[in-house]
Amino acid sequence: MRLAYWMYEGTAHHGVGRIANSMRNVHAVFHAPQGDDYVNAIFAMLERSPNFPAMTTSVVSGTDLARGTIRLPDTLKQVEERVHPDLIIVVASCSTILLQENLEIAAQHAGLQCEVMVYDANPYRMQEIVAAESLFTDLVKRFAKPQPRTERPTVNILGPASLGFHARHDLISLRRMLKTLGVEINVVAPWGASIADLRRLPAAWLTIAPYRELGLRAATYLEEQFGVPALLDAPIGVQPTLRWIERLRELLAQAGADIPMPPLTAFSLDGLSAPSAVPWLARTADMDSFSGKPAFVFGDATHVVGVTRFLHDELGMPIAGAGTYVKHQADWVREQLAGYVDEVLVTDEFQTVAARIAALRPELVCGTQMERHTSRRYDLNCMVISPPTHIENHLLAYRPFLGFDGADVIADEVYTTCTLGMEKHLIDLFGDAGLELPEKAKNGSAQAVEPAPAAVTVESPKPEQEPAVATVAVSGPTPAVAAPPAPAAPVDPVWAADAEAMLKKVPFFVRGRVRGNVERYARQHGHAVITAQVLLAAKEELGA
C-alpha cells in the first residue's frame, strides 16, 4: 500500500473502454459498481462525444451483493437491443473481480445473437495501456484471417484510438504523407475499424504502428504470423520523418513495390513550400535564446523519446532530464535516449516527478497534465506532450505531433511556451519598472499614473488606497451598462471594513468588476459608505 495522489494511467477497464469506443459496432460492458461509470464521462467530456460512448455499466450495488443478484445478463440484453453490436466485451472491475464470479456463464445466460468476449483484465496487474494493448492484440489475433495481398500496395495504420494523444491529427498527418507518396490505406485500427476490418488486416503490404503504447504488438503479430512487415518508428520531428519515409519506401521496395520519392515540397499543405519551417526556425536569431534553456521531458514512451530528441536535435536545446511512467517501455526509452540524458526517470508517482522538476528548475517542462500543474506551482513554463491530458489539449484545429506538420506544431508550442520567459527577461533587467500589473499598482507611487483619456476624473479622493484599475473601471467614458444619471455631485463611495472583507472572498479575477459594479450601485443609491449590507443589497440587485 502507498499513498497515491494522481495517476498517469487510467484503469484497465478504461483501457478496454478506449478500444471499444474506437471501433464500430463494438461495445464494452463493465460488471461494476455505479461509481465505475465515471469512465464514460471522460469520453463524453474530453472527446465531446456526440453519441453515447460505446460502454455500459452493468450496475452492482450493495443490495445486489447482499441479495446475490447479478444483473449482467439483463444488461447484456438491453445493450444488444439498443445498439446491436457485432461484439460485446465484458470486463469486471477492481471490486467485482474479487467476487470470483463466472462471468462467462453469466454472459451465456443472456443468450445473445452477437459475439460476447469476457476479457480477463486483472486491474491489479494491468493498467490502461497494457489492458488496451493486450485487448487490441487479442482482437487482432482472434479476427485477422489469412488472405491474399491487395492488388496495389497498401498499408495498415495501427494505434490511433479514442482518447489517444492528438490521435486524430496524427492520423490525418500520416494520411497526408501516404497520399503524397501515392500509397493507399488498407485498414486503420482500432480507430473507426469494424470486426470486418480486423479480418482484412493481413491483406496489407506493410503495417505502420508509430506508438509504443498501442498497436506495436498487433503489428508484430501480423509480421510474424502473416509476413506483413512492420514499420514501428514514430516520425516525430523533421529528420525522423525523412528517415521514416525512406524506411517506408525501403520496406515497400522489399515487398516489390517501387514508390518514387516526390519533391519535398509535395508534402507541404500547399504543395509549393518547404514541408516544415522548423529547420529554418532553428537557425534564426530569436531561437538563439533557446540554446540556453534546458528542458525536462516526462510522459509516455513514444512522446518522451520523440520530443526529447526533437528539442535536442532540431531546436538545439539542452536536455535537463527525461523520464516515463510507462514502466514496461523503460528499457526502450533508455536505449533511445542514450547520449541525450544520463539517467531516465521511471516512475508512476507524480510526486517523484514533481520533486525532480523542483530540483532541476528547467526553463521548459514538457509533460502531462500533472506536470502542467507542478510547473504552475513553481512558475515554470510547461507544455503538454503526453497523456493524461486536460480538456485544453483536445482542440479542433490541425495539431498533429507526427510528420512534418507535427514538427511545426511542436516547435510552435515550444516557442510560445518559452517566449514569455524571454520577454520577462528583457523587462526585468531593470527591475519591474515597465511591468505594471495590477498587484504592483497597489505598492509604490501608484496614484493617478493611468494614461486614461482626458474624460476620466483623476481627482479620485483616495489614490493611495485604490488600485488605479478600479478607478478606471467605473469612470471610463462609455460605461458598459447604461446607468441612470448619477446624482449631481457624485461622491466616490468608501468601503467599510466588513464589506472589504466580504469582497475579498469574491474570486480575485472578478473582484475588480464586482467592486466597480458595487460602487456604481452605491453611487446610484446615494450610499457614501459601502457597508456589508450595501454590498449584499448590491449583489442581490446585480446578481453577482
Partner: protein
C-alpha cells in the same frame, strides 16, 4: 402533508461515485484531509472528475490497495496516516470507504479508530460507489462531524445552517439572518474543523442543501434540535419561504412578499422565456427537486424530474410544491431516452456523462453538475440560478440551425454517429 406520487425504477442510469464530493469538501474544510481506502480506480476517478481543479498539492489521496494487499482482511493504513500528518498537518482526516474494501469487508469503524488520536481524529465516512452517488457522501461526512459539534444548552436558541456553501454565500446568510433578527450559531460544515457550531435542543437546523437528510435526522435524534421544514433557499419563492419559516421558529413574523416580488421582477425577462417551456431533469446531483420546483414557479412545464433518491420527510415541502410533476427515483436511462423522444423537452438537465450525447441527438441539454458549483443560494443567487437555465436556451436559439446537420459530426471523433462516413476510406 401532501404525498407526491413518485415512480421508482431499476437504477440503470449514469452517475458519478459519491467520492466526487471530496472535490468541494476538501476545499470547504480548509484544515481537512480526505483519505480514500481504495484502488487505482478511485484515484483515476478523482483525477478525471476533479481534473479542472488539479493542483500539485491536493489535500486528498488514495491509500492504494495493490494486489498483495487483497489477502489481508484488515489493511494497515498507519504509515499513510503518518505521511499525511507529516506533510499536510490536517486537523482532521476523513477516511472514506470505497467499493473494493467494502467487498473485502474491511471493518472501517475499527480501522479509523486504530489510527485516530485526540489531536487528529480520523473519522470513517461511508462513501463507496456501491451505495453512494455524487453529492450523497457529503451527508456521510457531515454525520461524521456531528460528535465534534459542541453541545449547546437548551436556552441557546440559534440557527445552524446545514450544508457546505462557500464563504461568500455563508456571509450572505449570516448577514441576512442578522437583518431579520435571527441569531446565528454557525454553519455545518465550518471552514475549519475546530469552528463547528454548538448544537442542542434549542438549535434550529436550517438545511441549505437538499442531500443531507441522514445528518438532519441524526441531529434531531441525538441533539434534540429542530430541523427547519421548508423550501430550500433557491429562487425567490424558495428563499422567501425559507426565511419566513425560519423566522417563525424565532417568533419573528416577517413578510417577504415584496422582496420576492421584486426578485421575480428583476428576472422577468428570463421567466418570460421559461414560461411554458418543457424541462426534463435527468441529472444526479440530488438538487433536482428544488430546481424543478423553482422552474415550475417560473411557469415552466417540468415533464419529468428524475433524481437518485427522494426522502419524503426531508423533501416534504418541495414535494408538496411539485404536485402534478412526474417524479422518478432510480430512473432507467433507456426508458428516459424513450420518454425524451416522446415528450420532446425544450431543455434537459442531465448528468455530465450524457449531456454531449443528448445534444448530439438534437436536444438542448446542460450539465446538472453545475448546480453544485454555482452560487445560486438566497437572494443573491437568484440571477445566477435563472440565467443558468435561460442561457442554454438562448444560446442554442442563437446558433444557426445549419450546424445541426449530421454532416458536421462526420469523422471528427471515433464515436461519431453510425451511418456517417468514418475515417476508413
Amino acid at each position: 402533508m401532501h404525498k407526491a406520487s413518485t415512480i421508482r425504477e431499476d437504477g440503470l442510469y449514469h452517475s458519478f461515485c459519491g467520492l466526487v464530493s471530496v472535490g468541494w469538501l476538501y476545499q470547504k474544510i480548509k484544515d481537512s484531509f480526505f483519505l480514500i481506502l481504495g484502488t487505482h480506480t478511485c484515484a483515476h476517478l478523482l483525477q478525471n472528475t476533479l481534473g479542472v481543479m488539479i493542483f500539485a498539492r491536493p489535500r486528498f489521496a488514495v491509500s492504494l490497495l495493490e494486489e498483495s494487499d487483497l489477502s489481508s482482511s484488515q489493511p494497515d493504513i498507519s504509515a499513510q496516516i503518518e505521511e499525511i500528518k507529516r506533510e499536510h498537518h490536517p486537523s482532521v482526516i476523513f477516511l472514506l470507504s470505497s467499493c473494493t474494501p467494502e467487498v473485502m469487508k474491511v471493518e472501517f469503524e475499527g480501522l479509523a479508530a486504530s489510527v485516530s488520536t485526540p489531536e487528529v481524529p480520523v473519522l470513517f465516512v461511508p462513501a463507496s460507489g456501491l451505495d453512494y452517488t455524487f453529492s450523497q457522501s457529503e451527508d456521510s461526512v457531515l454525520q461524521a462531524l456531528i460528535p465534534f459539534c459542541p453541545p449547546a444548552p437548551p436556552e441557546d436558541k440559534r440557527v445552524v445552517f446545514l450544508g457546505s456553501v462557500n464563504d461568500a454565500i455563508a456571509d450572505d446568510f449570516s448577514l441576512e439572518a442578522a437583518r431579520l433578527g435571527i441569531p446565528v450559531a454557525g454553519f455545518l460544515p465550518a471552514s475549519h474543523f475546530h469552528e463547528l457550531p454548538p448544537i442542542g435542543p434549542g438549535t434550529i437546523v436550517a438545511p441549505l442543501q437538499p442531500y443531507l437528510h441522514k445528518t438532519a435526522t441524526q441531529l434531531r435524534n441525538e441533539r434534540g434540535c429542530t430541523i427547519l421544514s421548508s423550501l430550500f433557499p433557491l429562487g425567490p419563492d424558495g428563499t422567501r419561504r425559507f426565511w419566513e419559516d425560519l423566522a417563525a421558529h424565532f417568533d419573528i413574523k416577517v413578510d417577504l412578499s415584496d422582496r420576492e416580488a421584486a426578485a421575480w421582477e428583476r428576472i422577468k425577462r428570463h421567466t418570460d422565456l421559461l414560461r411554458g417551456k418543457k424541462i426534463f431533469f435527468a441529472s444526479d446531483t440530488l438538487m433536482e427537486l428544488p430546481l424543478a420546483r423553482f422552474l415550475k414557479a417560473c411557469g415552466a412545464e417540468v415533464v419529468e424530474c428524475s433524481t437518485p433518491y427522494i426522502n419524503r420527510r426531508f423533501h416534504a415541502a418541495e414535494l408538496a410544491a411539485l404536485e402534478g410533476v412526474r417524479l422518478v427515483e432510480q430512473a432507467n436511462f433507456h426508458r428516459q431516452l424513450q420518454t425524451i423522444a416522446e415528450t420532446k423537452p425544450d431543455l434537459i438537465i442531465s448528468n455530465i456523462i450524457t449531456t454531449n450525447p443528448l445534444v448530439g441527438q438534437g436536444t438542448v441539454a446542460k450539465w446538472g453538475t453545475e448546480y453544485c458549483f454555482l452560487p445560486i443560494h438566497g437572494w443573491a443567487g437568484v440571477n445566477a440560478l435563472v440565467t443558468s437555465f435561460t442561457r442554454a436556451l438562448e444560446r442554442h436559439a442563437k446558433l444557426d440551425p445549419l450546424g445541426s446537420d449530421p454532416i458536421w459530426l462526420t469523422g471528427i471523433m471515433p464515436g461519431a454517429p453510425g451511418g456517417v462516413i468514418s475515417l476508413q476510406s
